[in-house]
Amino acid sequence: MKVPVSWLRDYVACDAAPETLAERLTFSGTEVEAVTPVEAAFEGVVVGEIRTVAPHPEADRLRICHVYDGRTERPVVCGAPNAAAGVKAPLATAGTRLADGTRVGSAAIRGQVSNGMLCAEDELGISDDHTGIMVLPEDTVPGTPFAELMGGPDSILDIEVTWNRPDCLSIIGIAREVAALFGAELRLPPVDFEEQGEPVEALARVSVDAAAACPRYTARVISDVTLGPGPLWMQRRLMLAGQRPINNVVDITNYVMLETGQPLHAFDYALLEDGRIVVRHARQGEALHTLDGVARPITPEMLMIADARRPVALAGIMGGAGSEIRPDTRRVLLESACFDPGTIRGTVSTLGLSTESAYRYERGVDPAGAEWCSRRAAHLLARHAGGTVAPGVADVYPGQSPPRRIRCRYERVNRVLGVAVPGERVASILETLQIPVVARDASGCTVEAPSFRRDIEIEADLIEEVARLHGLDKIPAALPQARRAPGVSNEAVYAHQACRRSLIGLGLHEIVNYSFVGAEAPSQFDAERRAEWIVLPNPVSADYALLRAMLAPQMVDTLGRNLARQVGTAALFEMGRVFRRKPGTANGETARLCVGLLGPAGRGALDRRRPVEAEEMFLWLKGCIESLGRAQHVPDLSMRPGRTAWLDASWTVEVRSGSHRIGVLGVLAESIRRERRMAEPAAVAELDLDPFVAHAFAAPELRPIPAYPGVARDMALIVDEAVAHETIDGIIRQAAPPELTRVSLFDIFRAEGIGRGRKSLAYTLYYRSAERTLTDEDANGYMARVKEALRKALNVEIRETQ
């Protein structure tokens, strides 16, 4: 809402500087986003009257006008098509600075003397209109300083009006705030006029068939209007407020809307069948051309203004082309009405059509004010459009209701604000806001909510008024008192934090991706569960078509994106929610953990040039998740070969906690990484997050520190490639006595000498007794049992190294 300060001052006796107004308004809840000075001072511009027009001897497009400036006539060369004898227009005399910064000179144009310049609106900075010189009203006196007609320098307050305060979508509404803030007097504009001719009942008949959607409808009839431009000062104000002047009648309706917040509509009475106004819902098959020339598809829930035959306006939004004000309009039916916000909002959103009028109706217009605003417009129509106002008003007011009475208890004010505001101060704040106090006693006061303050419904609304007028800066900041609510704990949050810190300690960077993915983003990962994907009915873009059902696709994209930017090594994790629609259940959300590795992330700094291999990528990620599992006390974390569409079949494991499958881990399928131009293997794990946080603070089961020294024995096993470490480990553990404490693989070796298809695995076996120091003989005996078992089970060659 743009508020010219000079206009505002018409209604409130306050001469505070615009910046002061802005500051006080902002800190009382009416946010002024900007104060824009209007420089147009029009110095050197006077009203000129063109006396004669003669062709320019040297140029077809130019003419020589003789312009009377109030004292003498002067020649002015002009190219405007509308320069004609008798026309009055702004004359910029020599030395005037125009809106674009150039100065008007006194020079010869194509050999002809031109003393000054006749101006178009854009040259004066009034609008961007450059179709011709600005034609001034006929009764304008030549020689009058143009500034006198247009008003001098000004300032515009750009105000953001909150949703609950539609009353502030008007200059008078803002003036009311200013009056309360500065203790200044509010002055309402005149609404008087003479009534003449046939009474309104003889001319117009109004009926409201949809009372719920139209609490009030008033109509006046103004006859004998003469269409023409509106008064200059009004045009100027409309332009400063961001509206385009059209003609005197339309300008007056717009002016009064900006002034009062009450949208008005002027119909050409002659085009209304039978002088009838019917407020009703649309009927099946009806159509309406709105005055912007568009044929609107009308549906029955839309509210219409109709005449005896057909709809003539989209109620509260826009008039119809068939009844609009035309140059030959002589009689006007003036609508000042109140419509239900929800009805208007529905139509606005169905049609995608919003107007200044609709904007106000959607937020709520004061039904009690409708008749006064109609009088205000009639006053202006009588003065500035030459109209005579028919006696009376057609006023249908089904929504009339008595004012709400609300009690404001001073104790409650103090309780809510946390500061003692004296009772007299509370009452006086409410009164300065034009909220009448109808009763008061020591403990509180009772007010009547004014009809223009539809937001004031309960005591809390009054307390808010007190807070913002008393001043939020006068409310002290109390030192916070730490007090826990009973029966609640932050443990789950801290468990998540611990998990995050463990991952960071493992060298991983945390990433955060959107909850949205493209429609086909998961198709290589999760196509068989496509039915569970949650599709957004109204996505913002095709890239955000689905809610993510897993984290891995975005992780893979993130790795690929980094690689494309020459970041060849990355170790990343994300903790986030995924979403799936399970048949027959509500939309399900699960917290997941995704880890992704790219490049030689697990190698030392001096060994990063060699290409990475699938096996080491896999083992790094496996080791990483095992470490995390230990840090977060995941019970019985295990991995066994698994299968999933997006991981390499050779390097995929299913991750389990006890017997629960909690996710998968492996090397990314080649087809997926090639598509993202990743030349080397990458590894990704997608896991449920819960097992990694559920036991975060579990106490360890403490074991005693060993009292006796242990013995270690090494052996190397040459076995077939197909023999898994897990198999060997299992045989050893089964054969060895309870004194075996640890089996550790310390070398893997492949060479010609070992034989084709064979490998050497070297292990250290640690033995220890809780009762005594073990001897060499003990260890030899244990090893003999282990070797025997290995030989029995496998095609193995054993070399013990000691």
Partner: protein, 340 residues
């Protein structure tokens, strides 16, 4: 020279020892204090002129002087004579890069949330969480959103086919908490929210909020709200950061306020971060509207409470000087590793 003067001289001598940078300079110090024509012999001679009571004390001080200065000279001499350290003797290059795996980093969004959890945790707030996919009741109606409020527009909210929606704020969690617990309630609700904004440098359709709610039989006033947000401002942005409040409108608080923090970068003088205003808009807040208590079956008469909410990305951006919100979702390792 009495005892006090001698002790003063001792302090001065010890200082001089420390300051000597070469053996030659140190020898100079020795001559000044202990040399044949130095201070010590003069001191001893001077003892005779003192009153008998003072003489004993001064004598002891002189002996202590001699002992302390002698020892300090010896220590300093040893230091000055030690061989200068040489970087990398034969085969020992200590300038080689260290070898230990590097730590990862916490995403700025998580950093801000974790810090907020700590800051509010210190004054008694615990964390509550709720689903991203919410009912319209919890997201709007229970929060006293008028039925025609623009935020309900399909243009602004992601509605799902199920009739549910992606929460536009974390306030529905506050409703869920009040539905399930009796006052006092003191929670913060960090979480992910969604609005149908077109992504640009300052908007993202997917973002994070931290909201807070405190409802109590005593406390929970606008004054308490101011105190809690000031505490947060100091802890999150710096102890010199100030807060100011402007009245505003939110459906579920009344009075409603917006809270600005004074700019931690320029101290209020104006800079790019605060768009030259000296203030940064951080939080929306207010006293809980009694109509909300009615929805959850609380007795509005007995209670008072406040609520607040703020954007995590916005705090991260002003705190770390991130100019484009999209950086937070781009996950470029070169950006992330700076948060180690």
């Amino acid at each position: 020279m009495n005892k006090d003067r001698i002790e003063e001289a001792q302090a001065e001598a010890l200082e001089a020892c420390k300051a000597a940078e070469t053996p030659e300079a140190l020898e100079g110090v020795r001559i000044t204090y202990l040399g044949r024509k130095g201070l010590l012999p003069a001191m001893m001679k001077g003892l005779k002129g003192l009153a008998p009571g003072e003489r004993a004390a001064a004598g002891r001080a002189a002996n202590a002087f001699k002992e302390a200065v002698t020892q300090a000279l010896a220590e300093r001499r040893r230091t000055l004579q030690a061989p200068a350290p040489v970087a990398g003797g034969p085969g020992a290059d200590t300038s080689l890069p260290g070898r230990w795996h590097r730590l990862g980093s916490m995403h700025p969004v998580s950093r801000v949330i974790e810090e907020a959890v700590r800051i509010f945790g210190e004054v008694g707030f615990t964390v509550a969480e709720g689903p991203d996919i919410e009912s319209a009741y919890h997201n709007f109606e229970a929060l006293n959103t008028p039925p025609h409020h623009p935020s309900l527009d399909p243009q602004d909210t992601f509605w799902l086919d199920s009739g549910e929606l992606l929460r536009t704020q974390t306030s529905p969690v506050q409703i869920r908490v009040m539905e399930s617990r009796q006052p006092p309630v003191r929670v913060i609700t960090p979480g992910r929210c969604y609005r149908r904004d077109t992504t640009d440098a300052t908007h993202s359709a997917n973002f994070h909020q931290i909201e807070g709610l405190h409802v109590d039989e005593n406390g929970g006033s606008l004054s308490d709200l101011k105190g809690v947000l000031a505490h947060f401002a100091h802890e999150m942005m710096g102890p010199e950061v100030g807060v100011r409040f402007r009245p505003h409108f939110f459906p579920f608080t009344e009075p409603s306020v917006e809270c600005d923090f004074s700019c931690h970068v320029c101290g209020g003088g104006g800079c790019r971060v605060c768009k030259f205003s000296g203030w940064i808009e951080i939080a929306g807040a207010g006293v809980v509207d009694p109509r909300v208590y009615a929805k959850v079956g609380y007795d509005a008469e007995r209670l008072s409470g406040y609520a607040f909410g703020m954007g995590v990305e916005r705090i991260a951006m002003v705190k770390y000087g991130i100019e484009d919100i999209r950086m937070l979702y781009d996950n470029d390792v070169r950006f992330l590793e700076q948060f180690a």
